[in-house]
């Protein structure tokens, strides 16, 4: 039965087939695969029968037909006359838009809160804890309804809009904010920004070489910041600071000017960021706590200052602990953005849902959704694995 027995006996004579460990393994696998395959075959058989009986079309031909439904907001050109494929593409871009923004903002919020939870200031640490405990323990769907109710159903019409910041208004038409009017000077400001970034990179290289040669540490960080912000600012001022904002103004029943985000988009983004932020907060906190205190002590004993300790010793080690769960939060946020469907933001799932309702082709619709999310998951976890391999601690 056991391997030892098998090898012992095989030296002299082959054991009976049913006692050979290898053959048993193969037999188990054949049975298992046959069972799974049989189950799938049964399902497919039923599905074909049912689809035939209910006269549902099959195949992805519907993708090229006219969608004939409108989509509330879109980053790319779209009209109801476009195809289903185009509609799904609009949904995908909306998903990616909200997910990308959400990931950036949730990372910032979560990191700040994680550091706050570790603060020696009692009040700061307690407030951060209250934030985590409240928002982590309420379903995201409920939080989305709450923000949407606040921004869409409870927000007043444009005439009574809440002004939350100078020239920023919240009404049931969304959040309306001023944008700079286009001006030829901006081209030069952007160019200056590019030059600033390039100069900062050059400076960093030079500072490294300078250190290697003379030992002098150049305050790269501050000077680089000055270059990246200062250069465009100088150009901007050089053009006489042509800061003309397109300020939203109430005209009749609605605002004109400025730009707006819809209540649905805002609610979804706020909900995703606030909810995911709590998890990122705990990840950041745990990551920093995971670095052995002896590491800080050794750095102290070598005379490194607290900022150097953080930058050179603690953070590089904490990041190894933080990044893997952080990625799964990013994935989680991207998947959770599909909750858009409950508040009517046209993300991929929402558009696919409409498509399925119109065409009745549930299998194809769900296949599209799954294919897209699986590719996203795969892409993110591939990037993750590459990163992990790059930073993994070398041990024997």
């Amino acid at each position: 039965m056991t391997t030892d027995e098998a090898t012992l006996t095989s030296a002299r004579a082959r054991p009976a087939l049913w006692r050979d460990a290898k053959i048993r393994g193969i037999a188990y696998q054949v049975v298992f695969v046959a069972a799974v395959a049989g189950f799938i075959a049964l399902i497919v058989h039923n599905a074909i029968a049912n689809i035939g009986r209910q006269n549902i079309a099959t195949g992805f031909g519907f993708l090229h037909r006219e969608a004939a439904f409108g989509i509330g907001e879109s980053l790319i050109e779209y009209s109801p006359a476009d195809t289903y494929a185009r509609a799904l593409l609009v949904g995908l871009t909306n998903t990616l838009h909200v997910a990308a923004l959400g990931i950036v903002l949730a990372t910032i919020l979560g990191t700040l809160m994680g550091l706050a939870r570790l603060s020696s200031n009692w009040l700061v640490a307690k407030l951060a804890r209250v934030y985590v405990e409240i928002f982590r323990n309420i379903p995201l769907a409920l939080q989305l309804f709450f923000w949407w109710g606040l921004l869409d159903k409870m927000a007043p019409g444009p005439r009574q809009a809440w002004q939350i910041l100078p020239d920023v208004f919240v009404s049931n038409r969304g959040i309306i904010y001023p944008v700079p009017l286009s001006n030829p000077a901006y081209k030069w400001v952007v160019a200056a920004l590019g030059i600033g970034v390039v100069a900062a990179i050059g400076l960093h290289r030079w500072a490294k070489r300078c250190q290697a040669a003379t030992g002098r540490q150049f305050p790269t960080g501050w000077v680089a910041l000055a270059l990246i912000i200062g250069l465009p600012a100088a150009v901007f001022l050089g053009f006489g600071a042509p800061a003309r904002l397109d300020v939203p103004v109430l005209k009749g029943f609605n605002f004109s000017g400025g730009d707006a985000v819809s209540p649905e988009f805002a609610a979804l983004l706020i909900g995703l960021v606030v909810y995911t932020g709590t998890f990122i907060c705990e990840i950041v906190r745990a990551g920093i706590l995971a670095v052995n205190w002896g590491q800080s002590e050794a750095a102290m004993a070598l005379g490194l200052r607290s900022s150097q300790r953080m930058r050179l010793v603690v953070l590089p080690q904490a990041l190894r602990v933080i990044v893997p769960p952080l990625t799964s939060q990013y994935l989680g946020l991207t998947k959770a953005s599909s909750l858009a469907v409950i508040i009517g933001f046209p993300d991929l799932v929402s558009v696919a849902n409409t498509t399925m309702n119109q065409t009745g082709q549930a299998i194809e619709g769900i296949t599209v959704i799954m294919a897209v999310y699986l590719s996203l998951s795969l892409a993110i976890s591939l990037a993750m694995n590459v990163y992990n391999r790059a930073v993994a601690l070398v041990e024997r």
């Binding site: 250190q211 290697a212 030992g215 070598l302 005379g303 200052r305 010793v313």
Partner: protein, 250 residues
């Protein structure tokens, strides 16, 4: 005692420290002259590690004064930084930085604290790696080395800062028996070159070889101090006797 020597490198004057209600250090007085080697021993929990950790401010003392290399330890960050530059420390658990290569471990502080050019720092690092007899491991990571090698890298890391004083906090306690000797040999060599050293250790053979003074601590106080000859041959205090009989029994 050390009165004969003129320059005290380390001076502790009635140092007291509490953890909450518990007093870990009681009126510790200690002077260590330049080039002197002091070995501190005592049962666990006697405060010996706490005492040497106070010398470079890994722990804060609450009463009394500590003067190291002529600089008094206060909450003044400048003084703390100055003292840490002059004092090297070797830990029981090595505390090498696992994300950096051996060479990077050695050059980190010289580059960022001493502001040495990278090349110079690397030359010094390779020199000290040779001194601790592992010249060919520079590009490995700490996780790839044995415990004894790691501890020798840790010693080299401290030496790269060219310290005036070296503190050893039970440097061989986390090592397998066959690796203890290679670390002690390096320490003995260092002692022979005239480094000022304070070692918390139970390696009594090492103590006999290098110590100028033995200090025995128990329950937060210094119970006995004597030259190693007298300390081992004729301990005065009962507690010292009991401790020595236990540690030398095997």
């Amino acid at each position: 005692m050390s009165d004969a020597r003129t320059v005290p490198m380390i001076e502790l004057q009635s140092v007291n420290k509490w953890y909450g209600e518990f007093q870990v250090l009681k009126n510790i007085d200690l002077q260590v002259g330049k080039g002197e080697k002091v070995v501190v021993c005592g049962p666990s929990g006697s405060g010996k590690s706490t005492m040497i950790r106070c010398i470079n401010r890994l722990e804060e003392h609450q009463r009394g004064r500590i003067i190291v290399a002529g600089i008094e330890l206060t909450s003044d960050l400048k003084n703390i930084e100055a003292i840490r530059r002059e004092v090297g420390m070797v830990f029981q658990q090595f505390n090498l930085f696992p994300h950096l290569t051996v060479l990077q471990n050695l050059t980190l502080a010289p580059i960022w604290v001493r502001k040495l050019p990278k090349k110079e720092a690397e030359e010094a690092a390779r020199y000290y790696l040779g001194r601790v007899r592992i010249p060919d491991q520079a590009d490995k990571y700490p996780g790839q080395l044995s415990g004894g090698q790691q501890q020798r890298v840790a010693i080299a890391r401290s030496l790269c800062m060219k310290p005036e004083i070296m503190l050893f906090d039970e440097p061989t306690s986390a090592l397998d028996p066959e690796m203890i000797k290679e670390v002690l040999d390096v320490m003995i060599e260092l002692a022979n070159e005239g480094m000022t050293m304070v070692c918390v250790t139970h390696e009594m053979g090492f103590a006999r070889t290098v110590a100028d003074m033995m200090v025995f601590m128990d329950k937060g106080e210094i119970v006995e101090r004597a030259a190693p000859k007298d300390f081992f041959a004729a301990p005065k205090n009962e507690r010292t006797k009991a401790f020595l009989s236990q540690i030398l029994a095997h």
